[in-house]
């Protein structure tokens, strides 16, 4: 594999490719480092190999930290798990028109097996967990990850423990429990759940917490979003990416994915301008960006965008740095703007997204209204989850007609009502 070691982002200390996520010297986050030089020898061959690969993230195995990735012939569920990725990238001209923009594309990651981008990261983390000999999968989740871990564990035939805040949306709880996981509802915020899981992961050595002790591998899965976008745009980068920020991991890894391929000369362009999206009710990263610092002061979340409700974001400082370096921003939108964002995307594209996607769509609208986006820019909006997961957000936002089963009632109440 191309992965060589784990390296601390803060102090550079190097570790082997084991189940470790924190630097023992400074508590900084560990990241997977690679040696891709061998891949640069024949770029055409590499592109052809990727294109001939499976219609899922394993087509990018050269760039993922696995010794034995499932590969193109892997069809046995208990070995390869649920295939994630290769989701549609759709040109959204009516959305662009609504916002007065030139070219907008929607990367619709609701198309994954459990309807969010989390299937990407869980695929990588669970494969690596098996390589390292773990026998149980676990996670701390705001909902989407809960769905993904429970489903992936079921596919692989591993026991799982999923820890969520007790007040999570009912759809996400139901869509997790159905897979037969051990569902643990913690009375507290996501940050409380996360703290508990950090403690448990230290004491349960046989458990792979995908976003705690497996976090360096897990996070690498998000790079596949960038690879796909670049491949779908004809081996080039977009000018701008608008993506949500919860912990900041997805946001920073999308940029890492583009950077890796640019460094190899595999794609044309430059690292896109990166715009992060948060909900005003949980916006520690947006606040740090606005304040001109990289210190993300923790907050107590209060927003309908529960999948983004992380008050103490692990990769917050790096998300702020990335937004600044790429002349982007991190913006925050209110709950009303989130509902309007969900509606705008649905009306102009036929894509129904959850509240996190509402945050992202509303942030795009905000950037457009502010005049931040040039007329000739190619913009990609990253939609990370499905609207069926957060149905409460759209309750009461539209009218319907209830009639008797008679033609005259239809004419009177529906058609005349419409034309009145």
């Amino acid at each position: 594999m191309g992965a060589t070691n784990l390296r601390c982002r803060e102090c550079g200390t190097s570790y082997g490719l084991e189940a470790r996520y924190v630097c023992e010297q400074c508590f900084g986050p560990l990241e997977v480092a690679y040696d891709h030089q061998g891949l640069a020898d024949d770029r055409d061959l590499l592109r052809r190999r990727i294109q001939a690969g499976p219609q899922n993230i394993w087509r990018y195995s050269d760039f993922l930290p696995l010794e034995a990735p499932p590969g193109p012939s892997g069809r046995v569920l208990s070995r390869v798990g649920l295939p994630a990725g290769c989701t549609p990238l759709i040109r959204a001209d009516r959305l662009a028109e609504r916002l007065g923009l030139g070219e907008v594309w929607v990367k619709n990651d609701a198309h994954n097996p459990t309807h969010s981008f989390k299937d990407r990261v869980v695929s990588v983390a669970s494969q690596r967990a098996r390589e390292l000999g773990f026998d149980t999968l676990a996670c701390a989740s705001t909902g989407n990850l809960a769905n993904a871990v429970a489903a992936q564990a079921a596919a692989l035939g591993l026991p799982s423990y999923v820890f969520i805040p007790a007040d999570l949306e009912e759809q996400k709880i139901l869509g997790t429990g159905v897979y037969g996981t051990n569902l643990v509802k913690v009375r507290g915020t996501y940050d409380d759940v996360n703290r508990l899981c950090t403690e448990i992961s230290g004491e349960r050595e046989r458990w792979a917490f995908v976003n705690v002790n497996m976090r360096p591998y897990y996070a690498e899965g998000s790079k596949t979003l960038a690879y796909e976008i670049a491949e779908q745009l004809g081996w080039s980068t977009p000018d701008r990416v608008v993506a949500p920020i919860a912990s900041g991991s997805l946001f920073t890894k999308i940029a890492k994915g583009f950077s890796e391929w640019l460094d190899l000369g595999l794609i044309d362009g430059a690292v896109p301008t990166m715009n992060g999206a948060q909900a005003t009710g949980c916006s520690p990263v947006a606040q740090a960006f606005a304040a001109g610092t990289d210190v993300c002061r923790p907050v107590k979340p209060d927003t309908i965008a529960k999948s983004l409700a992380i008050g103490n974001p692990a990769d917050g400082p790096y998300a702020v740095e990335l937004a600044r370096e790429t002349n982007g921003s991190v913006d925050a939108v209110t709950d009303d703007e989130i509902r309007a964002g969900i509606r705008m995307l649905a009306e102009t594209t036929g894509i129904f997204t959850e509240t996190a996607g509402g945050v992202t769509a509303a942030t795009l609208a905000k950037l457009a209204a502010r005049g931040d986006i040039g007329a000739d820019e190619r913009v990609v909006l990253v939609i990370t989850g499905d609207g069926l997961k957060t149905l409460d957000a759209v309750r009461g936002t539209f009218e319907s007609h209830e009639i008797e089963p008679r033609f005259d009632d239809f004419e009177a109440r529906v058609e005349e009502g419409v034309h009145a």
Partner: protein, 91 residues
């Protein structure tokens, strides 16, 4: 009465494998200073050169992040519990 400090696995190489320590102190700052006095090499791993906590270190008193309280000045009751944990998990 002493305060219990819970040590994360990542720091136990500096505490001889000890998962808890019992120290005296009336504030988080005093508790941590007492802990550093017991175990060589812990201070540099928890604190930056400015004496503040490193940015990826979380400290909790009674389950609450001290950044929501009074930081290192947060009072700790006798018999209370201080938990040190890495901040980079989750998401």
């Amino acid at each position: 009465m002493a305060v219990t400090v819970k040590i994360p696995t990542q720091l136990r190489s500096a505490t001889g494998g000890q998962a808890e320590a019992s120290v005296d102190g009336a504030t988080v700052g005093e508790v941590l200073d007492a802990l550093y006095a017991q175990h060589d090499g812990l201070r540099d791993r928890i604190c930056g050169e400015d004496g503040e906590l490193r940015r990826f270190v979380n400290v909790y008193v009674g389950g609450e992040d001290i950044r929501f309280l009074d930081g290192l000045q947060t009072p700790v009751a006798a018999g209370g519990e201080v938990t040190i944990l890495p901040a980079v998990a989750g998401g």
